[in-house]
């Protein structure tokens, strides 16, 4: 017993000193190495008379545990000190800039198209597309605008052949024709896309974007048209209330036709949609002309409905305060960066159209 106690006392006091890791390791070996003092004591257990053996073993284990834990604590203490010293040395100026990142953006027209699709999706429209190059029939004739019709003058058309048979579509309405030709009614589609007119100044670009809408079914009337557009405009501008005015107009492919104005006012240099007594024309629409339905083999006695065409660029300008149409297509890096949208900002119904 006294041996054990001696060993304990001796090493406890040793371990109280300021020790290096090597010195601790030496102590460890001295105690628990192959011929260490505690290890040697364990070897003697068998020689201890049986009635004392139990107590001896218990005492020995107690001392072993005590010393072992003292050693571990000592090592931890030294490690901790070392880490602290290292940390002290590793202090950096955290205000230095991070690794550079590049932030991409989606064009405001693309974002607006996604917003429009999201709104119309909710009331059951699906998206159709058509080619940019169209034949004269789909762009004009089928849309009740035969050759020598003065309404053709309203469209300054880019032609791709001398006979004027192929052209760059002047509106998205030929998608109506394509859609109705390939399927059977009912139809409920929107068709966003590029459109072209040979016209270029501050407010006109030779290329711009339109979204066409078409809803043909039994008993679709002008009230549905008004309801649909009223809903769309409210959702798009994310306002509670809008002022909307239907004005009679004329398009060869719809009858009755209307142009739609929305009320706005300018406040602190910013346009506010839905208030005020200024009017702004934003789209054309009407009931699809029976001649158009006949041209695509839909029976106008059974089916009727409405169509509309909205200038997408114009909508984007209004919503996001962009003044110059031509800047959309100028590709100025600074402009794209400012007016572009983060690709993660996908317009959806549940999280809203925009932040």
């Amino acid at each position: 017993m006294s041996d054990i106690k001696n060993i304990r006392d001796q090493f406890v006091s040793k371990l109280k000193n300021d020790l290096s890791l090597e010195e601790i390791n030496t102590i460890k070996t001295d105690l628990f190495g192959k011929n260490g003092q505690i290890s040697s004591q364990f070897k003697t257990i068998g020689l201890i008379p049986e009635k004392e053996r139990k107590k001896f073993a218990s005492d020995l284990n107690q001392v072993k545990d005590e010393l072992q834990s003292l050693i571990i604590n000592k090592i931890n203490e030294i490690d901790g000190k070392k880490i602290n010293e290292k940390l002290e040395k590793e202090k950096i100026d955290i205000t230095l800039p991070e690794r550079p990142f590049a932030r991409g953006k989606v064009h405001p027209v693309s974002q607006t198209i996604d917003e429009i699709s999201s709104i119309f999706s909710e009331i059951g429209f699906s998206v159709e597309e058509g080619p940019d190059v169209e034949n004269e029939y789909n762009n004009f004739t089928a849309l009740n605008t035969p050759d020598n019709h003065p309404a053709r003058d309203m469209h300054d058309t880019f032609y791709l052949d001398e006979n004027k048979e192929v052209l760059l579509r002047t509106h998205t309405s030929p998608v109506q024709i394509r859609t109705m030709m390939k399927d059977k009614p009912p139809f409920k589609i929107i068709a966003p896309g590029r459109t072209y007119r040979s016209d270029s100044d501050q407010t006109h670009a030779p290329m711009f974007h339109q979204v066409e809408g078409l809803h043909i079914d039994k008993n679709i009337n002008m009230g549905h048209l008004k309801g649909c557009l009223n809903y769309f405009i409210k959702e798009f501008f994310e306002v509670e209330k809008i002022k909307m005015r239907f004005r009679p107009s004329h398009f060869p492919f719809t009858e009755p036709s209307a142009e739609v104005d929305i009320g706005y006012k300018i406040k602190d240099g910013k346009i506010i949609i839905g208030e005020g007594d200024q009017w702004l024309e934003i789209l054309g629409c009407g009931m699809v002309h029976p001649n158009v339905l006949k041209n695509v083999k839909v029976d106008p006695a059974k089916y009727q409905g409405y169509a509309f065409g909205i200038g997408i660029d114009r909508l984007a300008m209004l919503k996001y305060g962009i003044n110059d149409l031509r800047s959309f297509f100028d590709c100025d890096y600074r402009w794209l960066n400012h007016f572009g949208f983060d690709p993660l900002d996908v317009p959806t119904n549940y999280r809203g159209l925009s932040r």
């Binding site: 699709s117 590029r194 005015r245 004329h250 590709c331």
Partner: protein, 802 residues
């Protein structure tokens, strides 16, 4: 179409303010484009009398005039007009006045050292006539007591410019607009007095309409007025024309213009003495020519409708008259023409000759066929009244008889289209006011369409009239139903959106550029495609459809670099064209990256962007879109606009079915030729139409989940291979050694140079080996190691590096 409220009141009895007129016009579909106050500032122009003239001390042709502008005030005005003389009554404009003709504002000015306070005006400067020779001369007898008074009448109302849609020719006349307003409840249409010509004198110039095929004139009315004295128009007529921005010319011309605007009845006045014998209306023959009133000489093609005499072409019917038979101030005998021309014929002729005129604009939209006589009468009486002379009988030649259209109209169709109801009696009221004759015929109405409404031919046209005049505000809103029966986007459309946002998320700014481009730039990038010209481009820089998006992107890339932006990534997703038939287009995502990575970084050394940056963007995007990169196959056959050694072509699988993408450095020659100042330029093109849609939906893919928890080990190999061997083949050989055990292969070093034989390279590869079934022991691993080495050596001629 320009009108004034005052002119409208010639036809409309109404007691309302201009504001409510404007609102009403808009409400019934006659869109008000602009409202202009023509008389603004005109009150500054005064009737004045020259009381003294002296020669200008420093200029022979100038005079210094003392001008009495009323209330005993005398102004000194320097004037160059030869007719400036003592006692002349004329028009004085003070400093501050704006001259109507050139819109310049007068100031007090020194003219050769003599100060001039204002100006004496010619008729031309006041937009009263073409007369610019001298200053306006006002009759002493009439104006002597008016010195100091306003020259212009203040009463003239605002000029209202309407945008009349092409279906409404009837509203190209003031009366037509008045009729529409009256039908909507705005005022009452005045009855026209029906005057009768009681002449016994025949119209002596014989008129014949040739009845050949496609001849564009259906009827030709004429009236001869003899012994006239063509004079300046009276004030009321001049004022009328000036009030809508037109310039008076002479009584005869002014009268024909007035009738045209008033009742939309174009007329033409001939100097009857200049017509050789008779008038023949016929198709032109190729080679005929004439000089028109616009002083241009036109060479005609076959089949244009001409008015001719025995000498040849006098004019193009319904489009423009000729100089040979035009009326002048000394014209004695006038023949007035009032005819009907076929809109299609007018339009095709005007288009071929590129002529625009007021008459053409009206005829191509459709003139009231029954207004021939009314127009002639109106003009003849006015000429007689103003110019004197004798009116002949009216002569009307026709080759077909006009019959009013009659259609059936079911009153129920109104509610079916508009969603709301109006009583039948309201319908009858509106239609009646519009000039329809309505007869009840069982359940339907039998409508006789007025001759001035060529746009109305079926039921829906009548519905439009009724809803337009009832007011669109009566249409009730039907709230849309929130129900989706069909998915909004197709798989391809979803892929489009995905690629767009995926590329943007890699630091690219999305651009939208024209679908056409500069032929010069298109040439660099057109590759295998042929140039597609636009027949009528807006500029030579936008003359072809783009065969590639690169042409536009690189133009804008250079502009941005010139703005001082050095490191840029831009992309566009949109169409490229390979033919001019509908559908000969592909959707492409194309991007360009210029400059450096880590420019001016305190962390790391900068480097040029390179082909492996762009390759990552392409591969990562495709992987994100759901394609398996392990199946990708890449070779180096790229179009000539890429760097031949640093570009690649990517297929979604080894089958090389269609090209998914190109990527690489842009050819240095192109960069040099277009003078793009950047350290490096790389680009990619992903061909959306060539990407087969993944067969399995995400739903199906997710349900398959399996991972191995057995120990994996990594083994490194270094092979010495021929330089020709590419890494893709080497990796593929290894992958195929045992697909069950080899789970990942990474190339971590490629080395050429010292210690490696010429024409050889060393490739170091780390292979991850893991079984799905058990922990591999040493012998298993040894076996697979040996197999890898043996297979690679056999298949590629490589040697393992010891």
């Amino acid at each position: 179409m320009k009108i004034t409220f005052d002119w409208l009141k010639d036809h409309l009895t109404v007691n309302a303010k201009e504001e409510s007129l404007i609102e009403k016009l808009t409400d019934i579909g006659l869109e008000v484009e602009s409202i202009e106050n023509l008389s603004e500032g005109l009150d500054l122009f005064k009737i004045a009398k020259i009381v003294k003239t002296e020669k200008h001390p420093n200029a022979d042709r100038l005079k210094v005039c003392d001008v009495d502008i009323g209330e005993k005030e005398i102004k000194k005005v320097v004037c160059g007009a030869p007719n400036a003389r003592n006692g002349l009554i004329t028009v004085y404009a003070p400093p501050g006045a704006i001259i109507p003709k050139n819109k310049t504002k007068l100031v007090v000015a020194k003219i050769r050292d003599v100060t001039s306070y204002g100006m004496l005006c010619s008729e031309s400067e006041l937009n009263l006539s073409e007369e610019s020779e001298g200053i306006t001369e006002l009759a002493l007898s009439k104006y002597n007591k008016s010195i100091g008074k306003n020259f212009f009448n203040q009463a003239s109302s605002n000029l209202i410019d309407l945008s009349i849609t092409p279906n409404r020719p009837d509203c190209l006349g003031v009366r037509g607009i008045a009729r529409d307003l009256a039908a909507s409840g705005f005022g009452k249409l005045k009855q026209e007095k029906n005057k009768v010509i009681n002449s016994k004198k025949p119209q002596t110039i014989k008129v014949k309409i040739s009845n050949e095929k496609n001849q564009g004139c259906f009827s030709f009315g004429s009236c001869l007025i003899t012994n006239v004295k063509n004079v300046e128009s009276p004030k009321w007529l001049k004022d009328k024309l000036i009030s809508i921005g037109q310039k008076p010319i002479s009584a005869i011309v002014d009268i024909t213009n007035y009738v045209m605007i008033d009742i939309n009845r174009p007329l033409h006045a001939y100097d009857a003495d200049k017509i050789e014998k008779r008038i023949i209306v016929r198709n032109s023959k190729s080679g005929e020519e004439f000089t028109a009133l616009d002083n241009k000489n036109y060479k005609l093609e076959d089949g244009m409708c001409v008015i001719s005499d025995d000498k040849g072409v006098l004019g193009l019917g319904g489009i423009i008259g000729g100089t040979r038979s035009g009326t002048e101030i000394d014209t004695k005998n006038v023949l007035i023409e009032s005819a009907y021309f076929d809109p299609r014929s007018i339009r095709s002729t005007a288009k071929r000759l590129n002529i625009d005129s007021d008459a053409k604009f009206r005829f191509e939209r459709g003139i009231d066929q029954l207004s021939i006589e009314e127009g002639l009468k109106k003009a003849a009486f006015l000429i007689k009244k103003i110019c004197g002379g004798e009116i002949s009988k009216i002569d009307i030649q026709k080759i077909n008889k006009f019959k009013n259209k009659i259609i059936k109209f079911d009153p129920n169709s109104f509610e079916k289209v508009t969603g709301f109801k109006i009583p039948t009696k309201d319908m009858l009221y509106i239609l009646g006011k519009l000039g329809f004759q309505c007869k009840k015929d069982k359940k339907a109405l039998k409508l006789t369409i007025p001759s001035w409404r060529p746009d109305i031919s079926q039921e829906i046209d009548v519905v439009e009239e009724l809803v337009r005049l009832s007011g669109y505000d009566k249409i009730k809103i039907e709230e849309p139903i929130k129900e989706r029966k069909k998915s909004t986007l197709t798989q391809t459309q979803k892929l489009f959106h995905f690629l767009q946002r995926s590329i943007a998320s890699k630091g690219y700014l999305e651009a939208i550029t024209w679908s056409f481009t500069d032929a010069k730039y298109n040439d660099y990038f057109k590759g295998q495609y042929k140039e597609l010209k636009i027949i009528n481009p807006i500029s030579s820089e936008l003359s072809v459809l783009r065969n590639s998006i690169f042409s536009n992107l690189i133009i804008y890339m250079r502009k941005n670099i010139d703005r001082g932006i050095k490191d840029l990534s831009i992309f566009e997703i949109g169409p490229i064209f390979y033919g001019t038939q509908p559908g000969e287009q592909n959707t492409v995502v194309s991007g360009l990256v210029a400059g450096k990575k880590s420019r001016l970084s305190w962390l790391e050394k900068d480097r040029n962007v390179d082909v492996f940056d762009i390759k990552r963007d392409v591969v990562q995007t495709l992987v994100e879109a759901g394609y398996d990169s392990e199946k990708f196959f890449i070779d180096d056959e790229t179009p000539t606009y890429y760097h031949p050694g640093k570009s690649g072509r990517l297929f979604l699988n080894r089958g090389k079915d269609s090209i998914a993408a190109y990527f690489g450095e842009i050819h240095p020659n192109i960069i040099k030729q277009i003078d793009l100042k950047t350290e490096s330029l790389v680009g990619f093109e992903i061909f959306l139409d060539n990407l087969k849609l993944p067969k399995k939906s995400l739903k199906d893919q997710k349900t398959k989940y399996s991972v191995s928890d057995y120990q994996k080990s990594e083994r490194d190999f270094a092979f010495i291979v021929d330089k020709k061997i590419n890494v893709q083949d080497l990796v593929s050989v290894i992958a195929n050694v045992d697909k069950n055990l080899i789970s990942n292969i990474k190339v971590f070093d490629v080395y050429e140079g010292e210690n490696i034989p010429k024409n050889k390279k060393s490739i170091a590869i780390s292979v991850t080996i893991q079984s799905q079934e058990k922990t591999l022991d040493v012998s298993d691993l040894d076996k697979i190691n040996k197999l890898i080495i043996k297979t690679v050596e056999n298949k590629t001629g490589a040697k393992i590096r010891s």
